[in-house]
Each structure stands twice: as C-alpha cells, then as structure tokens.
Assembly symmetry: C2
Homo-oligomer: 202 residues x 2
Amino acid sequence: MKLYDSGRSPNPRRVRIFLAEKGLSVPLVPVDLGKLEQRDGAYLAVNPRGRTPALELDDGEVITESLAICRYFEELHPEPPLFGTGPLGRARVETWQRRIELELLFPVMHVFRHTHPHMAALENPQVPAWAEANRPRVFDFLAFLDGHLRTRDFVADSFSVADITGPYTIDLMKPARLAVPEELAEVRRWHHLIAERPSAKA
Amino acid sequence: MKLYDSGRSPNPRRVRIFLAEKGLSVPLVPVDLGKLEQRDGAYLAVNPRGRTPALELDDGEVITESLAICRYFEELHPEPPLFGTGPLGRARVETWQRRIELELLFPVMHVFRHTHPHMAALENPQVPAWAEANRPRVFDFLAFLDGHLRTRDFVADSFSVADITGPYTIDLMKPARLAVPEELAEVRRWHHLIAERPSAKA
C-alpha cells in the first residue's frame, strides 16, 4: 500500500493527520503540485482525475478522495474511532463534517483559489466576484460554530474527523488572507487545542 | 421521527429516494422554499442553518445534511446496503460518491444557482462568470464517467447511494439548461436504468 501525497496541498494533509491520529504509517509517494506533476501521464494512470491524495493498494487498485481513504482506514483500524461511535454518534460526526466542508472549507477554498496569484494555473479562470461572494459565508459559519463550541471541546462527542477538517480549514484561511475574528473565542480555543495534538505536525 | 422535506428541492429528494430504496417510510413535514419557510424562525429552531432536509428524532435531536441522514438510516436498516459492502466495497462507493458530488453535482448546482432567475433570492449575488467556469467541468466529468460505466451498470459493485446522487444530478441539469451529450451513451443508459426504478418517483 502507498499513498500519493503532495506536501503543500490541503487534502493530502487531512489524510496524513488522520493516519497520525490512528498511529498508522503508510509509505508516501510525493507528487509535486508546483511542477503540476498531478497532471502528468504517470500520475493520471494512478488517478485519472489528477487529484491528490490517492491510495494504491498492493493489487494496484486505487482509492481516491480524502474522505474515502480516511473511511477505508477507519474500517481496517477502528480504534480510536474517528467517525463516531454508534448510529447516532456517527450521524453527529457526519452532520458536522458535512457542515464544516460545505459551509467553511469550500467557501475558504473558493476565496483562496479565486484570489491567490499562485492558483491561477489550477483555477482557470479565477473569478474574483465569486471569492467575494464567499467571504461573508466564512464569517457567518464561524460565528455559528463558535456558539456550538461554547459547551464542548470537540464538535461531536469526542475527537473526530470533523475536528481535523475544521482546524485544518482554519489553517487554510491564512493563505486566503482571512482571519478568525478576535471575538470568536471558542473557535480560537478549539483551533489551538487541536494544533497542540502531535498529529497537527503530520 | 419526522423528516422536514421540501418537495422541489434537490437534497430532500436524495433522501426520499434513499428511503424508498430501503423500503422505509418516514412522516414528512413540508417546508416551502418558495415562501422561504426554511428561513423562518420556526424552521431555524429545527436547523439553524436554514437548509432542508432535517431529520428530527423522537427526543428532539436533529440530524441535518442529506448524507448524514442517509448514513443514519443505513446504520439502522443495513439491508439492502447502499453504502457498499466490506471495507473495499464501501471505499469504492465513497470514492465515486465524492467524485460525483465534487465534480458533477456541485458544478451543476453552481451553473443552476448562478444563472436561473428563480435562484436570485437564494444565491445572492449571482455570479454569471462562475456559472460559465463550471459548465465545461460538467462535460469533462460526464465524459470520464461514461468511460467508467462502459463495463458496468452501477458506479460501484452494486446499486448504491452514488447511483442516487449521479442520476439525480443529471435530472438537475435540465433546469440548469445543461444536457448530457448524445455521444455519452453509457451515462444515458445509466440514467434511464435508474429512472426506471420505483424509487425514482419518491
């Protein structure tokens, strides 16, 4: 088994953090996005969609999409559970995982990809008006999330994949030139709490 | 248990089809998006994010996000399995479910929401240039999907949630004024095959 990884890209980092939380180590194969290696024939033979990460199994089958890879490791190595416990616990993780993706990660990504000069090759055409439309959505959701975190350390019952997606999205806010407002103390506390976990360095 | 549902909206339909495939029936509570009822105080008390569907359990807890609701029913009623079987089978469903969402559903939704006059209240501001940027992505992914379907009736090992998300997205192409190209015979066959299932009327 090997994981095609691109160090600077956000999605592979999500999988590396997940693996670190599981205490797992998988051989990494670097794909240099700076050189657009993800669009080379060699990599397109692995993942024809030209996206990283991708997990190649020993028989050559490839699993793509970060969350599909994370779920696969959750099945193979259930402890510690990172997608929740029991039907309701898993539903709570999934509700928040989806909310954070749809209402925070994707808006932040849109701001980043449609404003940052380095993204011009990947996001073609860049649409600055679309970045602007997403900016207030980021702050609206962060305020909602702050209220939710007022009574808990993690978004669901215990540390989960949603607590990976959320803080890692907040890290992405910096290159997108977005900042968590000072008054959102709970979001800031949560971000710091998770940044102190050893997995954050993965 | 009751499901807040808005008949004309795409996400609630995804859950209704899922329930029909499971042979399950859940009392529906209508939320009229035409009257923007999803933004009324009464509904915001159910789902503060103002989105449908939402599943309210008997103790008052609410699960939101279509896929979180579908996964919850999969846990309670595992047969027939609609998220795949076994770690690898489930990974295949998840890979395709994600690909179809990220590379087909979301681009189609962007075209629809940023061009259709009826969407002006929900998608504010509409950014026509963003709709245009998404149009070629729809056709690029459909061509890829057509190749994948050449050797199979369903995107993974058997009918799954990805075969709900995909054809339902193709139904959404019509109001977005997008059409599956004539030459993509496999996508058309797949769409017809699934439209003939009783669940398509849900």
